[in-house]
């Protein structure tokens, strides 16, 4: 064993080198290459690396379609992340009450996460059918049968807020996962702390408000990062529900369409780099935070 350890540094380097090389080429190499393309005027099937500086980026910021994308991303992220956190926390607190059937419900809530966004999208496309009158179907038909006519709406075809309907489907899929994160967090809070609070005369609400929730803050942060980067890169769910329609456009769809339908490779690369930057803004501080805090533990 000790002999083996002496050679570890060399062995480790040798073993890591191939994967390191692959990552350098296929991740970082291609990021650099995409960056280069984003500063070029490449349009059409033939690569054209003529340098145009920030032209592609500046055009994006004055592009009305990109404005729609930014608005949609903000609405989607707020509704999706907010909804998943609230619903996930609520479910986790309910499951934490040691009620019978906890295992069953825990599995039930987390199952949607096992499904791909495409499947979720197709199912919700049927559920959120905006047709009215004789062709009414899906949730609208259910509301109609139950006499809840005021709930009948145009779902994802609603102007401006349609993207929030897509976020509902995403909440359905990811709130179970958020619940699992919170449940793990709740189980890690020692019963003694709650007991101590009760001895001090705190009500159950106060225990959650002043003891449990503050201790769940790191879990919330992790959940926001995970949900946030899913939200910023969302593509498949929207395509499955609504196809390529401008009112539900997001940067990832614009990137794909402008690149492969219109052959604006330079502009497509610029969108890719902007997406990468925004996701990095979210993820890098988080990685720094976890690394420094892990070290303390």
């Amino acid at each position: 064993m000790s002999r083996w350890f002496k050679h570890l540094d060399f062995a480790a380097m040798a073993l890591v080198a191939p994967s390191l090389l692959a990552v350098m080429v296929f991740v970082y190499g291609f990021i650099v290459w995409t960056m280069r393309v984003s500063f070029s005027q490449w349009k059409g099937l033939i690569p054209d690396y003529t340098w145009v500086g920030l032209k592609n980026y500046l055009e994006l910021f004055s592009d009305p379609r990109f404005h729609v994308d930014i608005r949609n991303t903000v609405i989607f992220t707020v509704v999706f992340v907010g909804g998943s956190l609230v619903l996930g926390l609520l479910l986790a607190i309910l499951l934490d009450q040691n009620l019978p059937g906890e295992d069953f419900f825990r599995n039930l809530f987390i199952f949607p996460m096992a499904i791909s966004f495409i499947v979720t999208g197709v199912v919700w496309r049927w559920l959120m059918n905006p047709a009215t009158g004789s062709r009414i179907s899906g949730l609208n038909q259910l509301f109609d049968l139950l006499g809840l006519d005021f709930l009948i709406n145009r779902w994802h075809t609603t102007p401006i807020w349609g993207i929030a309907a897509i976020a509902l489907a995403a909440i359905w899929q990811m709130s179970g996962y958020t619940m699992a994160l919170y449940l793990a967090g709740l189980r890690a809070i020692s019963e003694e702390l709650r007991e101590a609070a009760r001895v001090d005369g705190a009500s159950e609400f106060q225990i959650y408000r002043y003891v449990v929730l503050p201790m769940l803050a790191p879990v919330t942060l992790s959940a926001v990062i995970i949900l946030g980067h899913i939200s910023l890169k969302v593509f498949d769910l929207i395509i499955a529900v609504a196809g390529k329609q401008l009112p539900l456009d997001v940067p990832a769809i614009y990137m794909w369409q402008i690149t492969f339908d219109g052959y604006f490779f330079g502009r497509g690369a610029a969108i890719a780099i902007l997406l990468l930057l925004v996701v990095s803004l979210l993820v890098i501080p988080y990685i720094r935070y976890t690394l420094t805090h892990k070290a303390e533990i």
Partner: protein
């Protein structure tokens, strides 16, 4: 570093290395998806049945995956297999109306130097502006000579599929874009005659709206563009419409503005759930009696027939109002890439695609007319016979949505502007975006 961490790192490295070594090892043996070349067959390599004669393949890429399109392709493949039993037909179809998804896949494959043996493309600027410009296609003049196609293909078609005198694709069919489908019963019940001008059409739709009928069925965004091009043509007329694409008609002119106003008005008659419907769903509204009109290319006829509907009873047709006597066409055609994996099989496919048997098998089912002029008229249904007559006598113009008049970049920019317009209905912004699109990717300076 704790022991746990070190061992974790070690084992994950081993796992990664194993994956990499396997990956690196693969190219040493021929990938199983490629047909082994007879000279390179190595019986020692694997106990797989290499002794069987190597079967030729032809991989044909299209977006024909649903309804009459898929059935028509299957009928043509049957003809192909009867003629070339030794060649396996590989259908590389990618779903998505008007090929929007398929073209993305194709662009990636071409970038990776992995072309299919032949692919479907809309005759016109979609092929010329994209693939010919990128030197991806072989000219087919020799094939046209040897097969005698120049004598049987319409003269007006050849310049559209050629660049510099070189023919680059084999058109299988001709479709008409400017068709107004209507429900005869709804029109009769409301005392409406089939409209021939845009004003008559709007008056009819006002009447239908007041009667509580959805006047005009429309689907997702590309079907909105299809409606847009027919209204542009109907408002501007042939000469000004053609001028839009060669730079002689000003996109900022009052006439174009009038066309955009007409388009805005037409949109006000459409179903509220348009954005959630595919073209099939929208067309079906007409034959099911849920809407009175639908503007869609004549592939809708193949779809209606596959639903078991009867022409003139369940659905009627007319040129889109304002376009009487004009045939706004598009054509699906197949190409020969510069480096096809199986050149002989690819040529065999193209021969069938251009043959009388192939086109007579494909077109009656797909709901299109032959690109050849010698097809047997009796094979075709009532609608298609009338389209064959119109093709022979009408003025021919090209379609925007279906790749004839504008290259893909220009079309994408028009599509962006159109998407914004569908949401905000601001005619002035739409018009200035169209002017900008023509400057950026079209012929306008």
């Amino acid at each position: 570093m704790s022991l746990k961490k070190v061992s974790l790192m070690f084992f994950s490295s081993v796992a990664l290395l194993a994956v990499l070594l396997t990956a690196c090892g693969t190219p040493a043996t021929p990938p199983p998806t490629q047909a082994p070349q007879p000279t390179e067959a190595q019986p020692t390599e694997a106990p797989t049945p290499t002794q069987a004669p190597a079967k030729q393949q032809v991989e044909v890429f299209s977006w024909w995956t649903a309804g009459g399109e898929a059935e028509g392709l299957a009928a043509m493949v049957k003809v192909f297999q009867a003629k070339y039993p030794d060649i396996e037909f590989v259908n590389a179809a990618v779903a998505g109306g008007a090929g929007t998804n398929a073209r993305a896949v194709l662009a990636t494959r071409l970038q990776a130097n992995n072309p299919p043996d032949s692919w479907q493309g809309h005759a016109g600027q979609e092929l010329i502006g994209t693939y010919v410009k990128a030197n991806q296609l072989q000219p087919l003049n020799d094939l046209y000579e040897s097969e005698g196609w120049l004598q049987v293909m319409p003269e007006t078609l050849i310049p559209l599929i050629s660049e510099g005198g070189k023919i680059y694709s084999v058109p299988v069919n001709i479709h008409r874009a400017n068709v107004l489908w209507y429900n005869p019963k709804i029109l009769a019940d409301n005392g409406i005659a089939v409209p021939t001008t845009i004003d008559e059409w709007f008056a009819a739709m006002d009447k239908l709206k007041a009667a509580g009928v959805t006047p005009l069925a429309m689907g997702e965004q590309w079907t909105a563009m299809h409606l847009f091009e027919t209204i542009l043509l109907g408002t501007l007329g042939v000469e000004k419409y053609n001028g839009l694409w060669n730079g002689t008609t000003d996109w900022g002119s009052p006439e174009v503005k009038q066309a955009l106003e007409n388009y805005k008005k037409a949109l006000s008659y459409t179903n509220a759930d348009a954005a959630s419907l595919a073209w099939q769903d929208a067309a079906q509204l007409v034959v099911d009696g849920d809407a009175a009109f639908n503007v869609m290319g004549d592939w809708a006829e193949g779809f209606f027939r596959s639903l078991g509907k009867t022409p003139k009873v369940d659905y009627g047709w007319a040129p889109v109002p304002g376009t009487v006597g004009v045939f706004q066409f598009l054509s699906d055609s197949f190409v020969l890439p510069v480096n096809p994996p199986h050149p002989e099989a690819a040529l065999a496919w193209l021969k069938v695609a251009g043959s009388k048997e192939g086109q007579e098998a494909f077109n009656p089912i797909k709901g299109s007319i032959c690109a050849r002029t010698d097809c047997d008229k009796s094979l075709f249904g009532e609608y298609l016979q009338s389209a064959m007559d119109d093709w022979a006598k009408d003025i021919v113009v090209g379609s925007l949505t279906h790749g004839v008049v504008a290259n893909d970049s220009w079309k994408t920019e028009i599509n962006n502007a159109l998407g914004i317009f569908l949401a905000d209905l601001n005619v002035d912004n739409f018009q200035s975006a169209l002017v900008a699109a023509c400057k950026s990717s079209g012929p306008c300076q």
